[in-house]
Symmetry: C2
Subunit: 429 residues, 2 copies
């Protein structure tokens, strides 16, 4: 039986025309023979039954997924998460690369997810735990996706800022403010030096803050702040809603004054973003709600950096994701991998601006700059701006001063001696 | 600090107008004081910063989520899954009910998911593991959702079958068959007694099997089989694709001969189904691809029965989900909970037909009937029909004979003595 299942589901990479394949890269733990488990994984995710009864045919060659690399990385007395019925069985820990013919589903994200993350992958016999770590895409397949319309460069062009990280600020209180109050807070923060005032991920089109009115008032505040500061500014409106309202809300927000739109894309589904991407007039920004349930467990689900990669693929210009620090409960190497997934050269797909988020303040920009070695990122504090002791203007100023300290080669403390907003930020920590 | 965080985020259920609240029911493990952790969970998922600097206001009363029930169910030396930085800290295992004012997001699924499963819920301080177990919906809120258009009764009406479980069959081989071959297999299975021939979840609109042609050929096979057998039949087309093609594919499939359509709804997003539900002319059937990554871990993510409930809420008439048996790696009580989520009375929302799936055959119907105590369910074998030694006609006949044995009060073995298809099914196991 094991020999039988292995037939037809193994190949050498060099023997395949890799233009025709995506490569699904999985980590898995199995109670079975690793080769048999890997073959099952291919069979279940592609040609589960590969011939008709009584017909001499074999659909595996064209349609079968194939193991092109399998490494047993170790063994353990039991799985990280038990396989029902085999709780105390020893397991092999494996890493496998599976070449899956993309002709099986075409350039369609839900169907690709069905193959990579569906019944076949997660209910394959003998496999206790499994995590999809990455997907390799051939250039021809990438060309069927639009990717970011603006990218890092286009987003920077809107702000005419090229030499430093970008300062997003989440207007707070995040729920319950009328548009006038919301715009007044954004205005103060713009004057203090904020680049982008944004809606919280919980802010949406509501009776107490209709999107057209919020966008109009905040757009006016933005224009006035631009006139005073001589700097370009953006208002980022969260248009997350049922998918059949996304296009309408994009238009409403933009026509009224939003310079970019945000979508909590894992709650709408990434396919809805492709729909929006065919029509968007301003940059698309993603927020990561609902990412944790399927990325947070180290040996199960999907790697968070792959989710970042897919968000870039469908067209996000800016990607907000869980960043460094204990608050976000995300290993440092995953954060770095997501930054890489945003910025690395990738066929025809433009780079997206990475925004590693979570409990940020004036000191975060320097920390991130030192860790990432680039200015191509954003920070997205909320309370550090809007709960700053000097108010949002002081809060935003503290962000700019935190970066000025980096440029001046000074410690935050030294630079704060002559900069009140930064001093107050330091004192309130 | 702990006293401060607790203020404003606790309430008695009786003191709230519960018509205005959804109740989010979480399991969590915390290294902190349980009350402080629960209050943080409320704060983070609603009014994170609940006043402006220098303004005398408190947005918590109207907009704050509130703990209405908190039970510490036990303690453990460490979390089931570690909290970074507190790997060896003891935890309290808690169950909490949080009343969240639905006015914060309205009857919008992505925004409700943002509140219940977003940054606030999964990155709340001190909480190591968390799982959303259920959501209670007040009737007024339910009324803003359509639910199933047909429901169990409407689906049965299409088949004119009321007194037994329904027999779905996944046409196999699942990938690579031309429409003529596909329809020929479905035809054989219809003649053997299958009610619904369906596309595999990997079957879609492809160059080798365009949906219009597959639907047309299979629709003709269905009509011919109806004429011969005198029974009503359905062809169930998988229309999973990018969300902006769903309406078009629904129309194309139905106009050409499909009597129901399937969507791998967790890969398109549930909000896309609401869009389709405003237009569907035939029953909507869901398949569970991508459910495992966020429901499979017992102390993290989302309970699978809640996902079933949400699928009923958005309008699925038939819900296919991981069923009993080791193959599907799902605890029995979760399967039962999903069946209940489909069938229990629920305000204005019609029941959906539960289809617990996985490695089913002629014996599955009786097993399920005994466990569920109802005939309102479907089974959905693939290979048991299409790899049956006598071919699809025999495979489908074996399903019907398996149920006839139940009705006759005989064992499968006894009934098989005079029924060849069932005998062959038993022999091939």
């Amino acid at each position: 039986m094991e020999t039988q299942i292995k037939q037809g589901f193994f190949a050498e990479r060099a023997a395949l025309n890799m233009t025709d394949y995506l490569v699904f890269d999985y980590l898995f733990e199995t109670v079975d023979d690793p080769e048999a488990a890997a073959a099952h994984l291919c069979q279940e995710q592609s040609t589960a039954q590969w011939k008709r009864v009584g017909v001499d045919e074999d659909l595996r060659e064209q349609f079968g997924a194939k193991v092109i690399d399998l490494r047993v990385e170790g063994t353990a007395e039991r799985a990280s998460y038990p396989l029902p019925g085999a709780e105390d069985s020893p397991v092999s820990r494996c890493r496998v690369k599976i070449a899956h013919p993309h002709g099986n589903f075409g350039p369609k994200l839900p169907n690709m997810m069905t193959a990579a993350l569906g019944e076949g992958a997660f209910y394959s016999p003998g496999i206790a735990t499994i995590k999809l770590m990455d997907i390799e895409f051939p250039d021809d397949y990438l060309h069927t996706f639009e990717g970011p319309k603006f990218g890092v460069q286009g987003f920077r062009d809107l702000l005419a800022v090229y030499d430093r990280p970008l300062f997003f600020g989440v207007v707070k209180p995040n729920i319950g403010l009328a548009p006038d109050d919301f715009a007044a807070l954004a205005y103060e923060a713009y004057l203090g030096g904020l680049d982008i005032a944004k809606d919280d991920e919980m802010q949406l089109d509501t009776p107490w803050s209709p999107t057209p009115e919020r966008a109009a008032k905040t757009g006016q505040a933005r224009a006035e702040a631009e006139r005073i500061t001589g700097e370009k500014k953006l208002y980022l409106a969260n248009i997350t809603d049922e998918v059949d309202r996304l296009l309408e809300l994009h238009d409403v927000a933009v026509d009224n004054g939003a310079g970019a739109v945000m979508i909590n894309a894992l709650t709408t589904g990434l396919s809805a973003i492709r729909m929006l991407r065919r029509r968007n007039r301003v940059p698309l920004v993603s927020h990561f709600d609902f990412i944790a349930p399927f990325t947070h467990i180290s040996y199960f689900g999907v790697h968070s950096a792959l989710v970042t990669k897919l968000q870039r693929l469908v067209g996000f210009d800016v990607i907000i994701f869980p960043g460094f620090g204990s608050r976000m409960k995300t290993p440092d190497d995953e954060v770095i991998a997501s930054v890489t997934a945003c910025l690395e050269p990738w066929g025809n797909i433009k780079p997206a601006l990475p925004v590693p988020a979570g409990s940020q303040w004036a000191g975060s920009t320097g920390e991130l700059y030192r860790r990432l070695g680039t200015v191509d990122f954003g920070i997205v504090p909320g309370r550090a701006v809007f709960e700053h002791p000097l108010g949002p203007r002081g809060g935003a100023a503290s962000l700019r001063q935190g970066w000025e300290a980096v440029v001046a080669g000074q410690s935050l403390e030294a630079y704060a001696e002559n900069h009140e907003a930064l001093r107050a930020a330091l004192a309130s920590r």
